[in-house]
């Protein structure tokens, strides 16, 4: 187990000229020993690059990787003693399930009895004890991926286990199970787990700390709660949540806030800077308000959808659309009617140049 420190940048091109040449822009990050982390971001944001740099499959073009203060930038995965699980199942076709699980241990010349014990334990954890003697090649994709997971977890002295979108090939109902299993394993073994995904539900349910990335840049590192309540960057607000945060352009001047053509009183105790701002509010916090209430805007309801566990209201204010989530039993105005929505409130965030204002 190790405390991982990154202070690096990476470009796949030999002589990077501008920001877009970098797969990872200069960043400094720390991963605490024994933490469960998720790297979350859209495809091509650099999360797999970051993972491969941590595991040692890739040497960063600039900067360093430290494990417990030791510089391992050029060390091989073996030297770093790291485990990694890939997006698509990698199994050794000619081996049985048990031999597959034992392979990382065998290569490190562990005693036979110890290998058997570890393989038995991991197989039990993954509910594969009955299949140990089966040939791995004949199994279904999800069973194969379970073997890959098992090979990642079978060594107990690893510095960290890295997962690169490991549940892509797994059926949805098994996904839940395996994710719970991983969480449970994390609690039992206290391993450092780093999990790459583009699925926010996966990231938010798995990790204690989530790293949100976009275009080679780390946008925010925080708990799922922090990402939801206080997105540091408009991208995070937009990316996290379903649907993402609503944004309205605003002009701040002399204690008043001009939002979508309506002048509102600035919330008390918030010293907002003068100039152009963006007001961000989560659909979950966009409540119905009394007509003319402070911080509320009159909106024209466009659509009300019943999505089973909640209702989704889409409303227009000026040329902007707002989405709001309501409980299924709530009585909502019909399309075409005017509804007052509480835009400014305790949970509202304010952004200038896409960055959150304190």
């Amino acid at each position: 187990m190790a405390h991982i420190t990154l202070d690096l940048a990476h470009s796949y091109k030999p002589r990077p000229q501008q920001d877009s040449d970098y797969a990872l822009l200069p960043l400094a990050m720390e991963f605490q020993d024994g933490g469960a982390y998720a790297l979350l971001g859209p495809s091509g944001c650099g999360k797999t690059t970051m993972l491969n740099i941590m595991s040692g499959l890739l040497v960063p073009s600039h900067g360093k990787v430290l494990f417990d203060g030791r510089d391992v930038t050029r060390a091989t995965p073996q030297d770093r003693n790291i485990a990694q699980v890939f997006q698509f199942p990698v199994i050794y076709d000619t081996m049985t399930v048990a031999e597959n699980l034992a392979f990382p241990l065998k290569n490190r010349k562990l005693p036979e009895a110890r290998i058997r014990e570890r393989v038995g334990r991991i197989a039990e954890m993954l509910e594969m004890s009955g299949q140990l003697d089966q040939r791995a090649a004949g199994l279904a994709a999800d069973a194969k991926q379970k073997i890959s997971l098992g090979r990642g977890l079978v060594r107990e002295d690893v510095a960290a286990v890295l997962f690169d979108e490991p549940l892509t090939v797994i059926d949805p109902h098994l996904k839940w199970q395996l994710r719970r299993k991983l969480k449970q394993i994390h609690h039992e073994l206290k391993l450092t787990l780093i999990y790459v995904t583009h699925d926010q539900v996966e990231a938010l349910t798995f990790a204690d700390q989530v790293v949100v990335m976009s275009r080679g840049k780390v946008m925010q590192l925080g708990t799922p709660d922090a990402l939801f309540e206080r997105p540091q960057h408009q991208f995070v607000g937009h990316f996290i949540g379903s649907p993402g945060m609503n944004f309205l352009p605003a002009q701040s001047a002399a204690g008043r806030l001009q939002v979508a053509g309506h002048a509102l009183e600035q919330p008390a105790g918030r010293g907002l800077p003068e100039g152009a701002l963006q007001v961000g509010v989560r659909p979950e916090y966009l409540a119905l308000a009394q007509p003319g209430a402070a911080g509320a805007l009159p909106c024209t309801v466009q659509r009300v959808q019943d999505i089973g566990t909640y209702q989704m209201l889409t409303a227009q204010v000026g040329e902007h659309l707002l989405r709001a989530r309501f409980a299924p039993e709530q009585r909502l105005p019909a399309p075409g009617e005017t509804a007052w929505l509480q835009v400014l409130g305790a949970h509202t965030c304010y952004y200038q140049n896409e960055e959150l204002l304190p």
């Binding site: 499959l57 485990a83 000619t94 081996m95 049985t96 990382p104 290569n107 089966q134 040939r135 090979r151």
Partner: protein, 298 residues
């Protein structure tokens, strides 16, 4: 005709007629001519006698033919034993990408583009002790090399020639097999701490199984039917040292005009190849599947 019965339309048969004709003229008719010859004694163009299976019996007892068959089997076995490992080794050491990969591919494939009889001629000159680079060099090193005089030298020269000519095919097939292995396998092996040998044994070799099977079958069939190159190089000599089956067959059919025995023998030849390929194919299909399954239950 009742309304429920389907209308009978036999016109579809005409549609398979072209295929039928092609196959008939390219395979069935020639084969049947051979069958026809194999059961007759053709004394002159006008006189022929039906002899039943006599030629087959005679051919089976032919000592010369037995010798040629053994020579052939040893040769094919040697070809496989040398070319398959060498081809794998070559494929493993070829660069994976960049201009080097393209350059090496062209270089490796070069010998495959040379016509058979030219290959024979190249090696005939190459191995000559007076003007050939190989022959003269070996002579000057004090090795008494002479492929026209010594049976073993001739045999080895034919083998080396075949290796030179055809190992690239095995290498190219293996190269294609290697390139189709996703990167994740190599990455996983690095993470798992596998040695180079383990990567070869557990990833590369199993993933190459399909192409290797094709390589083995192709090389076996081709080497079993080898004719042109040894014919040009040694003419089957010295003595009978490099007279392989097809050359023996040609001698019988065209040289001595023994059409009956030659026809009987070519049928047997055909069956031998079919049988050996069948056995090889099934054996290779099983290698790595059932063998492991058995081991799992120990």
């Amino acid at each position: 005709m009742s309304a429920t019965t389907k209308p009978v339309n036999q016109k579809a048969w005409f549609l398979i007629l072209p295929v039928l004709l092609c196959v008939a003229f390219s395979a069935i008719v020639p084969l049947m001519t051979v069958v026809n010859y194999s059961v007759q004694d053709i004394i002159s163009p006008e006189r022929r006698v039906f002899v039943g299976t006599e030629w087959f019996a005679a051919v089976m007892r032919d000592e010369e033919l037995h010798a040629a068959l053994w020579r052939q089997l040893t040769f094919s076995l040697a070809v496989l034993l040398v070319e398959i490992p060498l081809g794998i080794l070559l494929a493993l050491s070829m660069p994976a990408q960049g201009w080097k990969a393209s350059a090496v591919l062209v270089l490796v494939a070069l010998s495959l583009l040379i016509p058979w009889n030219v290959v024979g001629t190249i090696w005939q000159i190459y191995g000559r002790t007076d003007i050939g680079l190989l022959g003269a060099a070996l002579q000057s090193m004090g090795i008494d090399y002479n492929y026209t005089g010594h049976a073993s030298d001739a045999w080895v020269t034919v083998l080396v020639m075949d290796v030179w000519h055809w190992t690239p095919l095995v290498a190219l097939l293996c190269y294609a097999g290697l390139r189709s292995i996703p990167d994740a396998y190599y990455q996983a092996a690095r993470i798992d701490g596998a040695s180079k040998l383990a990567v070869f044994r557990y990833i590369q070799l199993p993933k190459m199984r399909g192409v290797l099977m094709i390589a083995v079958l192709l090389r076996f069939m081709d080497s079993f039917m080898i004719y042109t190159e040894p014919f040009v190089l040694t003419g089957g000599g010295p003595g009978n040292a490099t007279t392989f089956l097809s050359q023996y067959l040609t001698q019988k059919a065209v040289g001595q005009f023994d059409l009956g025995p030659a026809a009987a023998f070519s049928l047997i030849y055909f069956l031998i190849i079919l049988l050996l390929c069948f056995i090889l194919y099934n054996w290779m299909q099983r290698v790595g599947t059932t063998a492991k399954e058995g081991a799992g239950h120990e």
